[in-house]
């Protein structure tokens, strides 16, 4: 965990105090809603359908047990007893009252958290690989670089009013688990042919109304130039990005309209002016940041025989071992995916008690922290394999043991029209019906990994464009309908899903998903052919035929 220094702490303390005054003036009628709105948005406070919504930043998804307990307290004392994990590895509260928000920000500041830059046209929370720091294929832990970006971008005066919001992701592994290709800037830690450490920089990815896969603008950037190069990209975007139409204002549109060569040339020219400025990183500065992470010390342990452990009469525990473990680079340890998606809960929702249970688990078995994953689950990254039974027993006690990680019921789902002011259709009730329909775990395991991602509107908070199965809620003359798309993936071979055909009604959409799954299950070449492989081989036609017939 990164530990704040006095400057970090002072920033969040002063920001909380500043917002307290702004809230007092709003409640006293001294400032109007139009004056207050940009102030509250800069502190992550939105107005949704039924109430305010507060979005709390979780830098690169990392949460300590103390922070989990604070989030639980907020859920219990200032909300309706639950919190919601988002696809930006953040936390949202759906029911805070305005006068309580300064108290919430004080509580967050006391555990080194805040809601700064979780809204507005600024640089948002930088995300990363949930396996950062423990992945065997990792060149270097990306989180210190995420933290450098966080510090550089926090209150950056030049980038507080960009044409649109701006999202950055960093991965240090060869396998992309951070979805860098669907971010405004994606950063991959790489080595060049001379063995020097640096970054590959991708720009112009994003979902929303006009999805784009990011393009490489620089295949190798020496590590010391990370911030100056990011500054150059942001400057080119800030100066030339479109402000006349919010739907064309993201950097992906600029890169697409200009072409990547022109964009890269403009960045290189700008970078030439600032590359040796004060933003140049030294190894000492990187080491200083790394030093504040207090890397956990691992015991020398043997690897357990997990296959033998799975030979148990408890089929759900065996399934959990099969589906919810992720490899750890240190022998004797494993990472655990804790699914927030049992069949009767909104994906991403966790209760105050569950948050406290997670905090206790992290302290007892997880070296004191967890990671919020961009698929709305929680990862315990540092569990001794020998503790798996004990951890599972606690997870089972708190209904956090669902063994569906990576399966089709491990859905990404935005809040949708049940909460969101922008949504056109509900997504949570559809997710619940999908979870109810596909509750045969043997069937899900037979299907293997299939990602299902659902958004209640074109803004794509549920990442539907990059779901193997994507569902987009739309409004057809005041009635909810759902477009089905197939073939999306955010990984190394990133692809955008294609719409299969006419939209389905709310009553039809779960049957349509069932038809898609059955089509794959009956027509795949073998059990080893994944859903995505099948789609990439066979295309949309077999699905169209199953869904709509031949006419």
């Amino acid at each position: 965990m990164y530990q704040y220094d006095e400057h970090d702490q002072r920033i969040v303390d002063e920001r909380a105090a500043q917002f307290r005054g702004q809230v007092q003036r709003r409640l006293a009628g001294e400032i109007t809603e139009n004056e207050f709105k940009p102030l509250r948005l800069q502190n992550g406070l939105y107005m949704q359908l039924h109430a305010y919504m507060l979005r709390v930043a979780v830098p690169y998804g990392l949460l300590s047990s103390a922070q989990l307990r604070a989030l639980a307290t907020i859920a219990r004392d200032y909300d309706k007893g639950y919190a919601h994990f988002t696809t930006r590895q953040n936390v949202q509260y759906n029911w805070p009252e305005l006068e309580d928000v300064p108290k919430i920000l004080d509580l967050l500041a006391s555990v080194q958290m805040h809601a700064i830059q979780t809204s507005g046209n600024c640089i948002r929370n930088t995300t990363s690989d949930p396996l950062a720091g423990i992945a065997a294929d990792e060149l270097e832990d990306p989180r210190p670089y995420c933290e450098l970006i966080r510090q550089w971008s926090t209150f950056h005066p030049e980038f507080a009013f960009l044409p649109r919001k701006f999202k950055i992701a960093v991965t240090g592994s060869r396998t992309d688990r951070a979805a860098v290709r669907i971010h405004d800037i994606g950063i991959r830690i790489v080595d060049n042919d001379a063995g020097e450490r640096g970054f590959e920089i991708l720009v112009g990815g994003g979902l929303g109304r006009t999805p784009h896969i990011a393009k490489v603008v620089r295949d190798f950037l020496p590590y010391e130039h990370l911030l100056s190069y990011l500054e150059a990209v942001l400057r080119v975007y800030n100066r030339y990005g479109r402000r006349d139409n919010k739907y064309k204002a993201r950097i992906k549109i600029q890169v697409s309209e200009w072409g990547v060569e022109k964009f890269a040339a403009a960045v290189e020219e700008e970078w030439g002016h600032i590359k040796d400025s004060a933003t140049a990183l030294t190894r000492a500065e990187i080491d200083r940041i790394k030093g504040r992470f207090h890397t956990p010390s691992f015991e020398a342990l043997p690897n357990e025989d997990l296959d033998a452990l799975a030979l148990t009469s408890d089929r759900e525990f065996a399934r959990f071992l099969k589906n919810n473990l992720r490899p750890h680079r240190v022998p004797g340890y494993t990472a655990i995916v804790i699914s927030t998606k049992p069949k009767d809960r909104a994906p991403g929702d966790v209760s105050d008690s569950q948050l406290e249970a997670l905090a206790d688990l992290a302290d007892r078995f997880g070296l004191g922290h967890v990671v919020v994953m961009h698929d709305q689950n929680v990862m315990m990254p540092n569990v001794k394999q020998a503790d798996l039974k004990a951890v599972y027993a606690v997870l089972e006690e708190w209904d956090l043991h669902t063994a569906n990680a990576g399966r089709v019921t491990d859905q990404i789902c935005c809040p949708g029209l049940d909460f969101c002011n922008l949504a056109n259709a509900r997504s949570i009730p559809v997710a619940l019906r999908i979870a109810e329909r596909f509750d045969d775990q043997d069937y899900l395991d037979d299907l293997g990994d299939v990602s299902l991602k659902m958004s209640g509107c074109i803004n794509a908070c549920g990442h539907h464009h990059v779901g193997n199965i994507g569902i987009l809620g739309i409004d057809k003359a005041g009635v909810e309908a759902y477009q089905l798309m197939l073939g999306g993936d955010p990984g190394d071979e990133a692809s955008l899903g294609k719409i299969v055909g006419r939209a389905f009604s709310s009553d039809e959409i779960v049957d349509a998903v069932s038809t898609v799954l059955d089509t794959y299950a009956t027509q795949r070449e073998s059990a080893d052919e994944t859903f995505l492989d099948f789609y990439r081989r066979a295309g949309l036609d077999p699905f169209k035929e199953s869904l709509y017939g031949t006419d």
Binding site: L27, M47, S351, L417
Partner: protein, 108 residues
């Protein structure tokens, strides 16, 4: 086109009502005939003409100490009460359609 007309949400129906969110809790409220605010859509003053709508909306826009971002939307009137005609306004007036928080298993 006036700003007030622009503030009318996309909806359909025979009448208009005025809504906003409260400043303290952000909860949806509806303008009553006596020009106070109610949490219930059935209490809303449903008016049939654009002139009445614009008059009510103008009044609502002077109440920004108590409410935020008032707007008008169309409703039908059934048994003397306003009834939302879109899913959005129906959910907004009645609350989320999905359960908010299950009892925790470990709490019995």
């Amino acid at each position: 086109m006036s700003d007030q007309t622009l503030a009318v949400a996309r909806s359909f129906g025979s009448h208009f009502v005025i809504t906003a969110n409260t400043t303290d809790a952000g909860a949806p409220v509806y303008l009553r005939p006596d020009r106070t605010w109610s949490a219930s859509l059935t209490d809303a003053h449903a008016v049939g003409s654009e002139d009445e709508r614009d008059d009510l909306l103008s009044h609502a826009q002077t109440q920004e100490h108590d409410v935020c971002d008032p707007y008008a939307f169309k409703v039908n009137v059934e048994a003397g009460a306003a009834v939302a005609t879109t899913t959005r306004e129906r959910i907004r007036s009645q609350g989320p359609t999905s359960p908010l928080r299950r009892p925790d298993a470990a709490q019995g």
